[in-house]
Structures are given as structure tokens and as C-alpha cells.
Amino acid sequence: MGKASKRRTHGGRQAESAATRFARRDARLPLRAVLIALVLIGMAGAVAWFTSGLLMRVEPTGQPGEPARFTKVPDLPDTVGSLPAFERVVTESDRLLRQAIRSGASPDTIGEMAGRLGDLYQANTHGGLAEACYRLATDLTTDNPRWPYLLAYRLQERGEAETVTPLLERTVELEPSYAPAWLKLAENRFKQGEFDEARAAYERRLALTAGDPWALLGLARLAIEVGEWSQAESDLLGAIEAAPQFAALHRLLATVHEHYGQTDAGDASRQRANELGRFYAAPDPWVDGLIAQSFDVDWLLLNVSRYALLDPDLSRVLFDRARSLAPEDPDVYVVLHEHVETLEEARRALETAISLDNSHPMAHMRLGELLYRQGEHDQAVELLRRSIHLGADTADAHRYLGLALTALGRLDDALAALEQAVARAPGDADIHYSLAYALQRAGRQPDSTRELWRVLELNPGHELAARALAIGNSGKEREP
């Protein structure tokens, strides 16, 4: 090849070289890009790994990888001894809540679910777990007043006060028409000595429920606490006009009368209070309604008694729930017998209890006592003996056994039973009177008289004993 050719060739080589380079470069470009991308990806991975390592240090306790809100959801309780229905419901509610957290549901949704799980715990005497759930619900939901209120309620149940105030304030801010929250806030303020704030809260309650006796009572207490006795008196007189059946108002008025030295007026107020009965708490639907979610039969039965005065309808609902949850629990029917109206209904309830558990000591004892009162002494003796054998070894069981035996004329056995009753409760005047009666029936007059004197020593106001002694123990004492 010639020079030109060479040149050409060279030029051609140059051209070829540039093209080749270009071609090679074109070929290397994706390779380099790939390499660079790989390096960057590796770097990203390294950074991510390092960052994750740091984040591991602040991973909240709980299952690795689970969202932190899980740590605020309490572990399921030990449900040994609980009804299977409770275990099912609580497990499912807990599962759904965790699933919502895991799936990134909105805070409001999670909060509502946590609150409802809290309700379930609160209703079933797992207060600590309820508290944790209500905290989560209160933190996450901004517009539901129930959660701060129920959290406040749970805290005040355990006696806390200071931490309760802001929760109650948040409640009334969200739901200014919920009168129980104003009352709770007023009482909480009053008991912390914040009298002005308490007065304002009582007045808000009164504005919502005109003539409310609890608010009026609170205002009168406030007046007394700051030494405004005349204000307290006029508050109470007005309150009694608005709520004449509320015993606590009369009782506090008696205190005011006594402060002024008006003894007779004080006595009259006190007597009126005693006629009207005991103090009872104000209704609180958000709280009272929770108990109806309970699967704890013992707790339901206890609240049957607790609400019998305050809210008989709720008391009935609770009882029905207890019976539907545990229709074969004899305790349900033992409680029922205390709340029915007739002796026949009480008897049927106790007979049902015994048919469900023939070794229930208290059911036997109560039925034995009831049959004694109905004059069925043979059966009463049988039931009372069995109740004692089963473990109801109480003074009352021995006493009613003794009385039933006395009625049957089996006086030696009766006296033995009554001696047993006295041994168990030597300070009980009524038991000594029963013994005196049996001794008199047995013709042991001096012993009977001695027992009657013992009755009066124990209870100087015992009218039957006094009368028996007055008529000379002539065999005309009234049957106990």
C-alpha cells in the first residue's frame, strides 16, 4: 500500500480507531453504568444496613419488626378460669387491633379499636390492661370524649386525682353536654382543694341537669368547707325542695343545724335522712353501660347488688346477663333469691341453685332458713344440717337449726345447736335470745332468765328480752 494508502490507511485506522473506540466506548458505557449503579446500590445497601443498625437501638420492646404501637397494646391476660366466650372475644379484639396497626390503619381507627378493647378489659376487671388501651385510644383519637373520660375513670378508681383533671377537662371540652363528666370534674377539683374550679364545674352540671341533687350536695359541701354555713343552709334548703328524696341532703342539713346548735332540727333532718335510705352514686351511662359487657359472672353478680338501688333496670340487665352466661352457676340463683319480691320466688331460686349443685353450702343454708320461716321445720332441719356438713358452719346456720328443732319440740337437739351458735358468735344478742327461748321451752327457767339478762347486757335496747323479763319469764315470750 502507498503512503496515501498508508495515510489513508492510517487515516482509515484513525477513523477506524475512533469508531472502534466509540464503538468500544459505547460498549463500555452500559458496563460502566452498570458498575456505577452496582456500586451505588451497594452503597445504598451499606447505608441502609448501617442505618437499620442504628434504628435497632431504638426499636421498642416487643416483637422484632412490629410497629411500636404494639408495645402500647397490653399482652392478653391469663384467661384461665374465665369463660371461653371472654377468651374468644378478647383474643379476636386484640388480633384485630394488632392487624390494624400492622397494616398502617389511620390513628383514629387504631384508637377506636384500642378503646373498645379497653372497654372489654374494664368490664372484665382487668383494669391495668384497660388503662393501657385507653391511653392508646386517648393518644390516637382526637375527637372521641369517651376515651379520655374512661381513662380518667379508671385512674380515679385507683384513687388518682391530679392526673385525672386534664383528662376530664379534655372530656368536657369534647363533649360539654355530658353531665357526669362535669360532676366527676367538680368532685375531683373539690377533693384537691380547688374550690373555685369545683364550683364552676358543679354549676355547669346544674345547668345541664336542673335540680341535680349531687351537684347541689357538692355546692353545699363547698360552702361548708369555706366556712359559709348560712350559704350551705340556703343551698341545702333549696336542694331539698328540688330533690326531697335524696337522703344525703337531709343528712348534711342536719350537720348545718347542729353547727347552729339547733339540736331538734338536726335530729329531725337526720331522722328524715334515715327514712329515705342510703347515699347512692349518680348515674354515669358511659361507665354503667360497660358492666353489661362483662363476662365475669362474679363481678356481674356483685354489681347486681350494687346497682339494685341506683338503677334497678341495670341491675336486672346485669343479672340476666350473668344468668345467660352461666345458667348452671348456682351462685346466680343464690343472688337471685335476695332480689325477688316473694318468699315463693326466693324458694324457687334456692331450689334451682341446689338442683344445680347439691353441695352448695350457702344455698342449703338460705333455703333452710327460708323454710324455717315458712314453718316447714322438718325440711329446714334437714337442709340446715346438710349446710353445716357442707361447710356453712356459721352461727346463723346453727341458730336456725336450733330454732327449727325447738319448733319441732326436739329440745335437747335444739339446745345443742344453739350452744354451737353461741360458741361461734358469743356477742350476738339475737342468738342468746333464741337460746333463752329454747331454754324456757325446755322448762329451764333460771337458765333462760340468765340468757335474757345476757341479751340485755349485749343489747340494752332488745325489746323482746326486756318484755320477757318484765312478764317474769312466764312462758309468754315471743318466738324469735
Binding site: A48, R158, F190, T394, Q420, P426
Partner: protein, 449 residues
């Protein structure tokens, strides 16, 4: 040399990765944990740590360091109602004794300790119906120990005026004469001594539970067993009225726990001359809180008196049973008669608590008895202690599940071994009756692990 285009791009990409990847991860984690990014960064840097802390729970490794033995009379077929126990060397013979209120026998009794640690019981004075509380005090300042006895008249609810303020006056030879200082009162639950007016004699403060009608009064000693009564409060439900210098001004103030529907604690501030200002220092808004007892003790060893407070009363419904909120707390004395509530822990049926250093570690632990636990369960505890971690954090440890129905508790070194022992009294008002006791000595055998 100027960086190539590739180098520049590479650098920018690397920078983006270094910044954006951690930002993305931290943001996502912050959202997951419900925190702000800055919070999380603070935590990563160790500037903050607010991860969940587990609440103290019952120890799995309970230490049963109390040896129990019944003292005094045996059960003798009765279902005892011991309403109070108090520890005192009544005959001042160097051996610590126990005095108690027996509401079954309607008597105050003395369980005398003799050499060798044997105990014998004998009744003191006349019949006293439903004695609720006995407080040793040399009320007539004659050098021997008399007994102040709160007579309820009936343990179970009653609105009648059947209570009395009773003194069992010691003749110096442990012969006791019954003196009734005040009669026909709403049921009396506590009498405590103190010189409230600074005249050198012993006055009394009297708590009257009543039922719906109760009171608190102080009785000024006029000499010759004459007392003048001064009303302090007219509310039902007073249980205890301990006496101490709560405001640190050198005179004796009175604290009182008022249960029933009130559930409040009052302090009656003394001016040193027997004029009292009333302060409501605490109140639970749970009207079924079940206040059951208070005592005054320096819980945090800061030199002032705090209030140790139990809530576990359940006499109000039949059958009596525990509530989920029963337990023990203390009210920290902040000065100026301000108090801060601190929960110590839950304990169903908690009836009375004593603050003592049970394990000799220099802090104050809390022992507590239960009268109203779920006795159908064999695991229901009747005696527990809350061990203090030294920073007023408490862990509950169960000490006994039987005997059941423990209502009264007192503590002192009964055997002179330097360890504080316990004495309990049981009130068996309801079934079951299969794990009964009357008065029990719990000897402390603590040895450091």
C-alpha cells in the same frame, strides 16, 4: 484536574444515597413508632430513652421469710372476729406483748409474752361490745400503761348511738378498771392520745364511723377523768385518726380517713393550743374506693410524716368480695400540708398496711393484710409485702395465702433479734371457714440472699 462528568454524577448519587436512604428509613420508622424524626434521631444519639417500661409484677421467686405460729387462745370452735391488734410491753417486763380487740368475745385481751417466747392470753376489764381499736397510753400519767378502747357496739352496719369511749385503767399490777368516758355515740372506731392543748396532760381524739352518721371529735382532758368534747367533723365513715406533727411546727396535728361515700383524708392542723383548722388533703372520687386504714410514717425518710393508706374494705355488699382497685398508696408530705398521691400497688381486700424495713436494707417496705380477697381461690393472698427498691419503687411479693380473712396487722421486734416481726388478727365474717386463725405471730427470719 477537573472532575469528569461521571465522577460528578457518581458523587452526587452517592451523596443522595447517604442522605436520602437514612432519611427515608428514619422517617418510616418514626412514623411506625408514632414519633417525630427529631425524637427518633435524639434517641439514636442516646439523648433520649422513653421506651416502654414494664410495671413491677409479683416476684416469681417469692421469699417466704416469715415463720407463722398462732398465739393466744385457740379457736375453740368460734369464727373469730379480731378487729385490732397492738404491740406493747404492757407490764413493762422487757418482753413485748400483744393487746387485741375480740369482737366475737366482746373483750379486750392481753397476750403476754413470757421468757422463752411462750404466750398466754387473758381478758382485760369488762365486756365491751364490738371493741374496734385498742391503743396503749399512759392516759393518767401514773407510770403504767392504760388502754384506750373504741367501742363500736356492733361491728356490722348500724345507725344507733351504741358506741363509747372507754379506758381500761391499769392499777399498776395489770388489773384493769373499765371507765366509760363518753357513751351513746355513733359507733366509735379509733381513740388516739396526745397533748393537743399543750397543758401537759393527755387529751384524746375520737373517730366515730357511725353508719350514715359519724363524727370526729377531740376530748380535752380537764383532769380527774373529766373530758370536754370538741367537734371537728360531722361525716360518716371515720376509721382511723392517727396523731403526729404533720406540719413540723412542734405540736400534734390529727389525720383522719373518712370512708363511706366520702373517701377522704383530712388533716386537723393544731395551733398548739387545741384550736384546729381543717384541711381536706386528699379525696378519691371513687365512692366505692373502700378506704380501710391510714398510719403516719416517714415513708421516704426525708424527715417528715407521710400517710400510708390502704383501700380494701368490702363490708358493703354481701358476700363481701375484692374490687379490682383495692390496694395501697402513700401520700407524700410536700410541706405546708400539701400531699402528693403515689400508688404503691394493687392488693385485693387490702385492709391495713404497716411500713417497716422488713429486709434491713435501709428503706421502708410495706406489709399489708387482706380481709376480703377471693377466698374461694387457693391462690388468693392474705399477706403480702411491697419491697422498696430504695427509690420508692415497690414490687409486690406474696407472703401467705392462709390463714385467710386477715384484717388487723401490727409490727415490732417481738423476739429481740433485730428484725421486725408481724402480728395479725383475723375476722371471719364470711365463708369459707377452712383456713381460720385468730391471732398469729409471723416471726421474721430474713437473711440476705
Amino acid at each position: 484536574m477537573a472532575p469528569s462528568r461521571f465522577s460528578l454524577l457518581f458523587g452526587l448519587a452517592a451523596l443522595a444515597i447517604i442522605i436520602l436512604v437514612p432519611w427515608f428509613l428514619v422517617s418510616r420508622e418514626a412514623d411506625r413508632q408514632g414519633r417525630s424524626v427529631s425524637e427518633l434521631i435524639s434517641m439514636i444519639m442516646g439523648l433520649r430513652d422513653d421506651r416502654a417500661v414494664s410495671a413491677p409484677v409479683d416476684s416469681r421467686a417469692d421469699r417466704r421469710f416469715l415463720e407463722r405460729r398462732p398465739i393466744g387462745r385457740s379457736l375453740e370452735g368460734s369464727q373469730p372476729w379480731i378487729s385490732h391488734v397492738s404491740i406493747v410491753d404492757l407490764d413493762q417486763d422487757g418482753f413485748t406483748d400483744v393487746v387485741l380487740c375480740d369482737a366475737t368475745m366482746n373483750q379486750v385481751s392481753w397476750i403476754r409474752q413470757e421468757a422463752g417466747g411462750s404466750f398466754t392470753e387473758r381478758p382485760l376489764g369488762d365486756t365491751i361490745l364490738a371493741p374496734a381499736h385498742v391503743t396503749p397510753s399512759d392516759v393518767d400519767l401514773d407510770g403504767d400503761i392504760d388502754l384506750l378502747v373504741a367501742k363500736m357496739g356492733a361491728i356490722l352496719p348500724n345507725n344507733d348511738k351504741i358506741g363509747s369511749v372507754v379506758v381500761l385503767e391499769n392499777d399498776g399490777q395489770e388489773g384493769f378498771t373499765t371507765r366509760i368516758l363518753l357513751d351513746d355515740l355513733a359507733r366509735v372506731t379509733d381513740i388516739e392520745p396526745g397533748d393537743f392543748d399543750g397543758d401537759g396532760d393527755i387529751d384524746l381524739v375520737v373517730g366515730q364511723f357511725g353508719y350514715d352518721d359519724g363524727e370526729i371529735r377531740w376530748m380535752e382532758n380537764l383532769g380527774g377523768w373529766n373530758f370536754e368534747s370538741h367537734d371537728l367533723l360531722a361525716l360518716s365513715g371515720t376509721i382511723h385518726t392517727p396523731v403526729g406533727d404533720l406540719d413540723g411546727d412542734g405540736d400534734l396535728d390529727i389525720a383522719a380517713v373518712v370512708s363511706q361515700e366520702w373517701e377522704e383524708i383530712y388533716v386537723f392542723e393544731n395551733d398548739g393550743k387545741g384550736m384546729f383548722d381543717r384541711h381536706l388533703v386528699y379525696g378519691a372520687t371513687n365512692d366505692d374506693f373502700g378506704s380501710s386504714g391510714i398510719s403516719l410514717v416517714d415513708m421516704d425518710l426525708d424527715g417528715d410524716l407521710d400517710v400510708l393508706y390502704s383501700n380494701g374494705d368490702a363490708f358493703d355488699y354481701i358476700p363481701p368480695g375484692p374490687r379490682p382497685w383495692h390496694g395501697v398508696q402513700w401520700l407524700e408530705n410536700d410541706g405546708d400540708l400539701g400531699f402528693t398521691y403515689h400508688r404503691i400497688g394493687d392488693f385485693p381486700g387490702a385492709y391495713f398496711a404497716n411500713a417497716v424495713d422488713g429486709d434491713l436494707d435501709g428503706d421502708v417496705d410495706v406489709f399489708v393484710v387482706s380481709a376480703f380477697n377471693d377466698w374461694d381461690s387457693p391462690e388468693a393472698a392474705s399477706l403480702a409485702w411491697f419491697e422498696n427498691d430504695g427509690a420508692m419503687g415497690f414490687t409486690r411479693r406474696i407472703l401467705a395465702t392462709e390463714p385467710t380473712h386477715l384484717l388487723a396487722l401490727a409490727s415490732a421486734d417481738m423476739d429481740g433479734d433485730g428484725l421486725v416481726d408481724l402480728v395479725t388478727g383475723a375476722m371471719h365474717v364470711s365463708p369459707p371457714y377452712d383456713r381460720m386463725s385468730r391471732v398469729t405471730l409471723w416471726r421474721n427470719t430474713w437473711k440476705d440472699p
